[in-house]
Amino acid sequence: MSIGKGIRDGRHGGGEGGGLPEAGARGPASPIEFRLDPASGVPTYLQLVQQVEHALRLGYLKPGDQLPKVRDVVASLAINPNTVLKAYRELETKGLTAGRPGQGTFIEATLSQVALPELAGLRRSLLGWLATADVAGLDEDGIVALFTSVLRDFHERSGGLRGAAGGDTEGVA
Amino acid sequence: MTALTLPAQPRRDASPRPVPWRRMAWITWRQHRLAVAGVVAVLGAAGVYLYFAGEQLRHQGFISYGAGPVLSITAVLFQVIPPLIGAFVGAPVLARELESGTFRFTWTQGFGRARWTVATLAPLALAVTVAAGAFGFVFSWSYGPQINGNPILSPLAATTFDLHEVTLAAWTLVAFAIGAVAGIVIRRVVPAMFATLVAWSGLAVVTGAFLRRHYEAPLVTSNFNLPDGAWIESQRWAQDGKPVSLSTVDQVLQKIGATVAAPGHLGRAAAASGPSGQFGQSASAPAPAAGSVNPAQYLLHHGITQLATYQPASRFWPFQWIEGGWLLVLSLLLMAAAVWLVHRRAA
């Protein structure tokens, strides 16, 4: 999806915010830069949370790295500071970050990684399932819809996966 | 939801004193310097002209009776000074804020809009009053001798009375105050200026025509010749107890070569032979022509009497102060009304 591309752009220095000073001008830069997708239907604070988690998964962020200062995020995206605070609080609740008074918010932990062999095994079984769905006549959108609906059911039944956000705000048609 | 209460709030700010008045000085000057400078320039130029005119009149060394009509024309021109100042300086003060929308900025600042109005009106009022007073002083100095020296002209006459120092200042102040009120009521600059002119003119006409003669009870006399410089309010001629018109009296006087030279004054008639006749001179001296008769006694002979109501010239200064006084009170009331209207509702 588009989130990764955005963070990659940010990493290469093409940050948002036009003529406003780069975050780097104000001291140690955060490795990541946020971007918003206003058309995605996902609440702003959740987009920020997801971008941090995604950055963690992809290795842009490591424990000890600092998240962008609230003020800088607000200045470049023109969003409500309460939204940024809410996102950072959410990350703290999930145990991923911790705030250091007077300094900022820092990454504390990594997302639990699935071990590599397990990952390979999951990939294989998923490919098999996809082949079956394709043979049954499901197109890509159909596959995505089916998967999302089953995922939601799974959430509701199992009380949610580790650390996932509340089910009913992930708006998918 | 909780019911709305308005409890007494402990003062959050350690310094509850309001923004000091003197901060407004720069603001008022900066925003109105053109108007004030314009007034000073125009009055200054006119004052310089008057000064030289006055110097010239003094060097003549005699009373120029020709100053009569010329004086009247000049006086008419100068009469427009107070209402124009009121319209151009007074009306825009509040009207421009409202018309341009800047009141939404200025009247939501910490200074407060009622205080802002006071702090803007007061210095401007003072400035125009002083400028007008100075100009009136120059006028009095310049034309005073002409007015006082001519027995027919009265210093109390409406054409020149409000151009002297006290009254000119007062009439300018009231014009400014009218402008201020017009500005807040009408909320548009040009209509407020127009309304100022109209209202001031109305007030001036009413004062000159009706109000001024009542400042003090007028004197009544049956003397045919009134004192020099008297301001005549009315005169009635009667023959043998019956009212008779002025033209009848004039006809009677023609037989002895005299005329009613001016209201309240008898003098020699113009020579029947031609236009080179002399203007009726001071009636206190009888005509030097041979066999001349005192016109006053002649009239009495014929049973003609006169009752004239007039104000003596000596009342000039008391009248100046009376008029200046009530105009000042009116101005203060009007400006207070303007402040109150601003306070009550801005938008």
Binding site: G17, R71, A75 | S15, F103, G110
Partner: protein, 302 residues
């Protein structure tokens, strides 16, 4: 503390009520969006809050109980009116000087730095600035006063998209730095969706919707299902607005916090702020207002 609190507030001009029976309690520390069509009463409400006009009915208090127009209220509230009025023939520096003289506190350093960042020359006459620059100037003057509440009346109406972004970035940064509360009005909701966390919807002079955006979004959903069944569920579900095709209907419902299960055969979707606002605007009789006392007035459209 409630940054703006109104009870039964009404304002009549002549024979027209521009605002009536307005009851609000906007908490501080938020960005409150005052939304509604033209003539809904947004400017009237702001004028009442800032003291430019006095109520015909009811009361309004600001900054936790202060009377609008009082010295404390004037001190703590900065107002940028529609079209950002400034004195056209004064230079920018003069406007700074003017604002400093008219207020107890004014951060001249901040204002000059900010104008420098924006590239607005101090010597230019304010009337010669572009629309975006004038708006930024007015905003800078307002923020320089370090207010506790910033009121903005349709601040972005005449700004291009970049100017709009810069304007909101300035406001939000000030909020992050100083904790100023913001109330801004607009008749274009989309630009406010990213920043507002409290919504007040005015329509025809009355408050139709008031509440935290999160609460509003959580308490409304769109149910999609067979049109034939829509009528059956209308009353029970608290439908605000219904849209029907031949076979399919979308019902925007207010769940009132209850966790009613979705009727079988129906799908439930979350709702966006814009959709919610439009739905209420189309149903003038519907309202969503906080507090148990208001429960009777909520729900139900025809």
């Amino acid at each position: 503390m409630n940054i703006i609190e109104a009870a039964g507030l009404g304002k009549r001009y002549g024979s027209t009520w521009a605002l009536r029976e307005c009851t609000l309690a906007i908490p501080d520390g938020h960005v409150a969006a005052l939304v509604g069509p033209n003539g809904a009463g947004k400017t009237t409400l702001l004028n009442l809050a800032v003291g430019l006009t006095a109520p015909t009915a009811g009361v309004v208090a600001v900054l936790g109980g202060t009377r609008p127009g009082s010295p404390d209220a004037l001190d703590g509230i900065a107002f940028v009116a529609q079209d950002a009025p400034v004195y056209a023939n004064l230079s920018v520096a003069d406007m700074l000087h003017l604002t400093r003289n008219l207020n107890r506190h004014f951060d001249q350093g901040y204002a000059k730095a900010r104008l420098g960042e924006l590239g607005i020359p101090l010597t230019r006459k304010a009337g010669k600035l572009s629309g975006g620059q004038q708006a930024q100037l007015a905003l800078t003057l307002a923020l320089g006063r370090r207010p506790r509440l910033l009121l903005l009346d349709e601040p972005m109406a005449s700004l291009d998209p970049l100017a709009r972004h810069d304007f909101m970035a300035t406001v939000m940064t000030a909020m992050a730095d100083d904790g100023v509360s913001v109330v801004l009005s607009s008749h274009v909701l989309t630009e406010l969706e990213r920043v507002a966390d409290y919504l007040v919807l005015l329509s025809g002079g009355s408050v139709q919707v008031a509440g935290e955006v999160d609460d509003l979004l959580a308490s409304h959903r769109v149910l999609t299902g067979p049109a034939a069944e829509a009528g059956r569920y209308a009353e029970r579900l608290g439908v605000v607005h219904a849209r029907r095709g031949g076979a399919q209907a979308h019902l925007l419902v207010r769940t009132n916090g209850s966790t009613d299960p979705v009727p079988p055969g129906w799908e439930s979707h979350p709702v966006s702020l814009e959709e919610l606002t439009l739905a209420y605007l189309r149903e003038p009789g519907a309202a969503s207002l906080p507090g148990p006392a208001r429960a009777e007035r909520t729900e139900v459209s025809r």
